[in-house]
């Protein structure tokens, strides 16, 4: 797969002497589905802010689409190519109505107004927000706000989408709906990186897991290998996903990613003897 974003030995500190992120080296390819795990303060959000071009590394360099990010023009290239959805929607919401809100990014891309209008309409349709377009975003519910922030960023048509704990304020139904949106975006070829505390979601959804611990990248690999390492998980305050453990206990191979897969696998075994 074609590489999109690469971090080369990147460090960042909010306050001198206390690195929030240390010696981070990794790369994300087009179309990947990456879950970022780690306890509070591990550096997940800092990683996102660096990847989104909001913060600039104190040391090391970031390479986007093959070209290193050095000058301010590179930074704006990075911001255009990478969409960042913040954990707290209220931090992101800006305009008086939903449609104005979604138009903010495309207007900043200096697109012609007709193109902006088209993109806004598309993004609103994709996230079932058309009937909310005249409403004020600050008075929407948590789930609706989350959808607006997604539409916001996708109207800019990024190649890489970063979501910081997207399910944090969502009820189960809206969390499922969000996963539906993620699946659709994946089918459209977007690379998705999602920070989460939910190992079950990471197991169900991700093709790759990044594990952060105390500002360092503690592990980077396939979910099967990372979730098999109990000592590593315990060090980050995480547990094994339920389906992973159930699959192991039943001796299934491949391990089930969803309840349906589990049911199917168990049903087959029952029927074979």
């Amino acid at each position: 797969m074609q590489e999109l974003l690469r971090f080369e030995d990147v460090s960042y500190a909010y306050e001198p002497g206390r690195d929030a992120l240390r010696g981070l080296t990794l790369s994300v390819a087009a179309g990947e589905r990456v879950a970022v795990l780690g306890s509070n303060g591990a550096g997940k959000s800092t990683f996102f802010l660096l990847a989104g071009g909001v913060l600039t590394p104190a040391a090391g360099q970031i390479v986007f689409e093959g070209e290193p990010v050095r000058r301010p023009t590179d930074l704006s290239r990075l911001r255009r190519g990478v969409g960042l959805v913040f954990q707290d929607p209220d931090v992101q919401l800006l305009a008086g109505t939903v449609e104005e809100e979604v138009s903010f990014g495309p207007m900043n891309l200096r697109l012609p107004e007709s193109e902006v209008a088209r993109r806004v309409a598309d993004a609103l349709t994709a996230f079932e927000l058309t009937e909310y377009r005249r409403r004020a975003p600050q008075y929407l519910s948590g789930g609706e706000k989350k959808r607006v922030t997604l539409a916001d960023v996708l109207a800019m048509q990024p190649r890489l989408l970063l979501l910081d704990e997207p399910a944090a304020s969502l009820d189960p139904a809206h969390a499922r709906q969000l996963e539906g949106h993620l699946a659709r975006l994946h089918r459209q070829g977007l690379a998705l990186v999602v920070a989460t505390h939910d190992v079950d979601f990471a197991w169900r959804w991700a093709g790759r897991v990044l594990l952060f611990q105390g500002g360092r990248l503690a592990a980077d690999g396939a979910p099967e290998t990372i979730f098999a390492d109990r000592a590593l998980l315990a060090g980050c305050g995480l547990e094994q996903p339920v389906l992973f453990r159930a699959g192991r206990a039943l001796g299934l191979d491949p391990l089930p990613r969803t309840v349906e897969q589990l049911e199917q696998a168990v049903g087959k075994e029952r029927n074979t003897p």
């Binding site: 802010l49 704006s76 911001r79 931090v91 008086g96 109505t97 104005e100 900043n108």
Partner: protein, 310 residues
């Protein structure tokens, strides 16, 4: 426990009392005996019960978004309200401005602002207006001799006909002007107003600042509300002393918290390609003849009144 219906706040009570006093002073001598007192009392009660509303910035914004007139061309509304305002201030008798107030209030009601909410939003400016009216109406004199006199500090507080006439005019103009401003702000979301100003080539820096202030009002109110709830859940408001201390703490921390949020907001804007100018794609509302008439008719009436010596 305070009852739901009698949930009167100190400020509304004060405004109500002031309204009753000023109302009576304005009418004393021009109406038969029980009427000035009765009308004054009714006015006072209305304002006191209307109640001053917490977070009125939020309420104004909500009403503006929900208003029936939100679809009206914002430039027309701005121009219309400002035009009526100027004409109101030119009036030399109290009746035309009062008419403007009634008309604009009626438009607000037609737009969907309830009577109670409208009165509640009026309570705050009303307190200022009424205080100035009281100062205009009553003056201290060594001897009695007006329409009404109150003994005070070795002399008298006197209400005479000349100051009554002046106060009537000032109060009527103030009410009319408030009516125009309220019509504009209760029917036009601030972003649309800013778009109008942008069309009128107001300085971009000023407008960007306005957008940010508009946004931070909500952030601050929200942060303050969250902190208040969190403090209340830890019994921070039990007892007057502790209540005062908690309030102090909340406001002391509000600034720091708001700065942290403001920085996060700026980061969010930068990540969406913001490079110093805030621009949205705003919806255009066509100017309609019916809407023009809503402003042209009262303006014509005012002009006629002015020509006839109003």
């Amino acid at each position: 426990m305070r009852g739901k219906i009698l949930n009167i706040e100190p400020l509304s009570l004060l405004t109500g009392a002031l309204a009753a006093l000023v109302g009576w002073s304005l009418l004393a001598g021009s109406l038969p005996r029980p009427w000035p007192a009765a009308l004054a009392l009714a006015l006072g009660l209305a304002l006191a019960l209307g109640g001053h509303s917490h977070g009125s910035a939020v309420q104004i914004d909500r009403l503006a978004h929900a208003s029936r007139w939100a679809d009206m061309n914002a430039a027309l509304k701005t121009l219309g309200c400002c035009g009526l305002l100027v004409l109101t201030l030119c009036c030399r008798t109290p009746w035309p401005p009062l008419g403007v107030f009634v008309y604009t209030a009626a438009l607000c009601m037609a737009g969907g602002a309830g009577v109670r909410r409208y009165l509640g939003l009026m309570a705050l400016p009303a307190a200022f207006v009424l205080l100035s009216a009281a100062a205009l109406l009553w003056r201290w004199a060594p001897a009695p001799g007006g329409l009404a006199d109150l003994p005070l500090a070795g002399g008298w507080l006197v209400l005479d006909a000349a100051s009554q006439a002046l106060a009537r005019l000032v109060l009527a103009r103030a009410l009319g002007a408030l009516g125009c401003l309220y019509l504009l702000s209760l029917s036009t979301p601030l972003p649309e107003l800013l778009a109008v100003l942008r069309q009128a080539h107001a300085p971009a820096l000023l407008l960007d600042l306005a957008v940010l202030i508009y946004r931070y009002i909500f952030l601050m109110l929200d942060t303050a509300a969250r902190m208040r709830v969190a403090a209340a859940s830890r019994l921070g408001y039990e007892g007057a002393g502790r209540s005062l201390r908690t309030t102090g703490l909340v406001y002391a921390n509000l600034l720091g918290r708001s700065f942290a949020r403001a920085r996060a907001c700026q980061q969010a804007m930068e990540s969406r390609g913001w490079e110093g100018q805030i621009r949205f794609l705003t919806r255009r509302h066509p100017v309609r003849a019916g809407h023009i008439a809503l402003f042209a008719a009262p303006a014509a009436a005012l002009l006629a009144a002015l020509a006839l010596g109003g």
